[in-house]
């Protein structure tokens, strides 16, 4: 399972404040905590706090200085994505990188696929377009197939393509959870080997009471369908234990009595 730590995001108050004040300490603390918890990548997202390329550059530099963990560069505008990739090339010293994210709209998809090729990056493709987010399975799969086709034709191999079926809040759009699971199952059949299938997990528990329980239950169900990547709260120990157990059940890891320890050591 590829785990992307979600916490360095300007929509969290402490991170927003740290960006505004150019205070490295809280950001680097989250970089370390998430790395120790087993993050394979750290998502780095300015949020709404700034639109400045300088701030993005500073944020990426701050994370790269603290830990050797690769990052996923999270922004929805092309110019800042490019600035982020440039900064990462300078400060990240050739680590792997994921672009988070494109949609299926040509005006975004085509240039972001080009950027992914140019920077040797992975690319998360979110299955929405100018008509908005899909409300059913078919539309999700149609857009997923489009993203996969465009990216593949440009030369991205399946292991660099991450399809995101768009997880929606259980509390408000309960029927969508099942659609997302079915879309994941169908994404896994798009090619052999399949692309990665990535979810923004925490959307599922938005505004709900039992956040942690909903998160881990949904992630395990998604893994059973073929999801292999999640942007999530890697510091949630119960979530990580559930992932480790699901990997055993899917026969992706070999059982041992101390498998939780083994999983943590591996991470």
């Amino acid at each position: 399972m590829i785990l992307i730590g979600e916490r360095i995001n300007g929509s969290f108050k402490d991170i927003a404040q740290a960006i505004k004040e150019r205070n490295k300490a809280p950001i680097q603390e989250w970089a370390r905590r998430q790395t120790e918890a087993g993050a394979d990548y750290l998502d780095v997202n300015l949020g709404a706090v700034s639109k400045s390329a300088d701030d993005f550059r500073w944020l990426i530099q701050t994370v790269c200085e603290a830990v050797p963990t690769p990052i996923s560069i999270d922004y929805n505008k092309l110019d800042l994505m490019k600035a982020g990739l440039e900064a990462y090339r300078e400060f990240g010293g050739g680590r792997p990188v994921i672009i988070n994210s494109t949609t299926a709209e040509d005006s975004k998809l085509i240039p972001l696929v080009e950027l992914a090729m140019q920077y040797n990056a992975g690319l998360i493709g979110v299955v929405m377009d100018e008509r908005g987010s899909p409300q059913d399975v078919d539309r999700r799969v149609e857009l997923g197939a489009k993203i996969f086709a465009v990216a593949s034709e440009a030369g991205l191999t399946p292991d660099r393509i991450y399809l995101d079926p768009i997880v929606m809040p259980l509390k408000f759009m309960q029927e969508q959870a099942k659609n997302v699971l079915e879309a994941i199952r169908q994404f896994a059949m798009i090619s052999d080997p399949p692309p990665h299938i990535s979810i923004g997990l925490s959307n599922i528990c938005s505004k709900a009471q039992e956040k942690s329980l909903i998160n881990r239950t949904f992630l395990v169900m998604a893994m059973a369908m073929g999801c292999d990547t999640a942007i999530c709260n890697v510091c949630d120990q119960e979530l990580m234990n559930a992932v480790a157990t699901a990997e055993l059940i899917l026969n992706k890891e070999i059982y041992s009595d101390s498998y939780l320890k083994a999983y943590r050591k591996k991470k």
């Binding site: 070999i254 059982y255 101390s258 591996k266």
Partner: protein, 326 residues
């Protein structure tokens, strides 16, 4: 119409750990030769898919006491030297080309001569002063006895970077602590069970022992006596390792001589079983054939007894390594 075959070569994200045994004078030991195993980035001998930087190594078995039950076709090669483990080891290295010596402390076994820690340490010293190759020291398998003799053994070989074993799920703390203190590598044993193989490695590393200092002993069986079961365990461990399981990424050792020379196909003379052909051919052939199978399963160190088996396995390794042999 021409058909283009797809490229089905497999690449793996993880490599098997490399383990180097033996330490030279510069490194605090007295070895004149070191042996490195592991490092593979593909399945055994799949040179077209990845690297196999080090060929499997052959260790020859030496005892601290003269064996009583070795059949004549085996004993005849060692009877002149087996009163002294140093001379025995020397013969294995100089005459038969052993890469390593595996000293089995059979004399310490409570059901044999029940020798004590000082005698065990003495045997270790004799081998170390007689040969320049790295040393494996294999205990009795009796937990209490091993915990009694290994402190003296580990100390006698301090700095020589030996491979000591075995530890198990139920008995690992003493030997792991000793290997840490005296800078040796350790063999982790499991009863033909990949889950327990992983568990023992986790237990050892939980004590702060480095995963890179471990060699896995997945249990061995002779051809005809459960070999295919061991094969499947080794194969599963190796596949998991190449896929990224750090708790199974260790090189593997197979203890073959002791298994083969305990079964009738190798042990029975032609007087007992005339239809099976000459024992002096049959015995070493059984040992070598067993070894071939383990090579294909991923064995990195083979512990063998008969000189003819050693020669034949060496030839096979050379052939299988092909251009990959350094």
């Amino acid at each position: 119409m021409p058909v283009t075959l797809p490229d089905v070569k497999k690449t793996w994200p993880n490599a098997i750990n490399t383990v180097t045994l033996g330490a030279t004078r510069d490194e605090g030991g007295t070895r004149t030769k070191k042996v490195t195993v592991g490092g593979a980035t593909a399945l055994p001998f799949h040179h077209f898919e990845g690297a196999m930087p080090y060929p499997p190594a052959i260790a020859m078995e030496v005892w601290d006491v003269a064996p009583q039950d070795w059949p004549d076709v085996l004993a005849e090669h060692f009877r002149d030297v087996w009163h002294d483990p140093g001379l025995w080891a020397k013969k294995c290295v100089e005459q038969y080309g052993a890469d390593l010596i595996c000293l089995r402390l059979a004399g310490c076994d409570p059901v044999k001569e029940n020798r004590g820690p000082q005698e065990a340490a003495q045997a270790v010293k004799r081998v170390l002063e007689s040969v320049g190759v790295p040393l494996i020291v294999w205990g009795t398998g009796n937990d209490d006895k091993d915990n009694e003799i290994f402190p003296a053994v580990a100390e006698a070989a301090a700095g020589e970077n030996c491979l000591l074993g075995t530890i198990t799920e139920d008995n690992y703390k003493t030997l792991v602590a000793l290997c840490t203190a005296y800078k040796h590598k350790v063999i982790t044993e499991s009863p033909c069970d990949v889950n327990i193989a992983k568990q023992v490695n986790i237990l050892a590393t939980d004590m702060g022992f480095k995963p890179e200092d471990i060699v896995i002993y997945p249990t061995s069986a002779a051809l005809g006596y459960g070999l295919e079961y061991v094969y499947s365990v080794m194969e599963r461990a190796r596949l998991a390792a190449l896929r990224g399981d750090k708790m199974l990424s260790q090189p593997m050792i197979c203890d073959i001589g002791i298994e083969v020379w305990g079964v009738k196909e190798a042990k029975a003379s032609e007087r007992e079983l005339p239809e099976w052909g000459e024992q002096k051919e049959r015995g070493p052939l059984w040992e070598a054939t067993t070894a071939y199978v383990y090579l294909l399963a991923g064995a990195d160190i083979l512990v063998l007894r008969h000189p003819k088996a050693v020669a034949s396995v060496r030839e096979t390794i050379t052939q299988l390594m092909g251009d990959g042999l350094r």
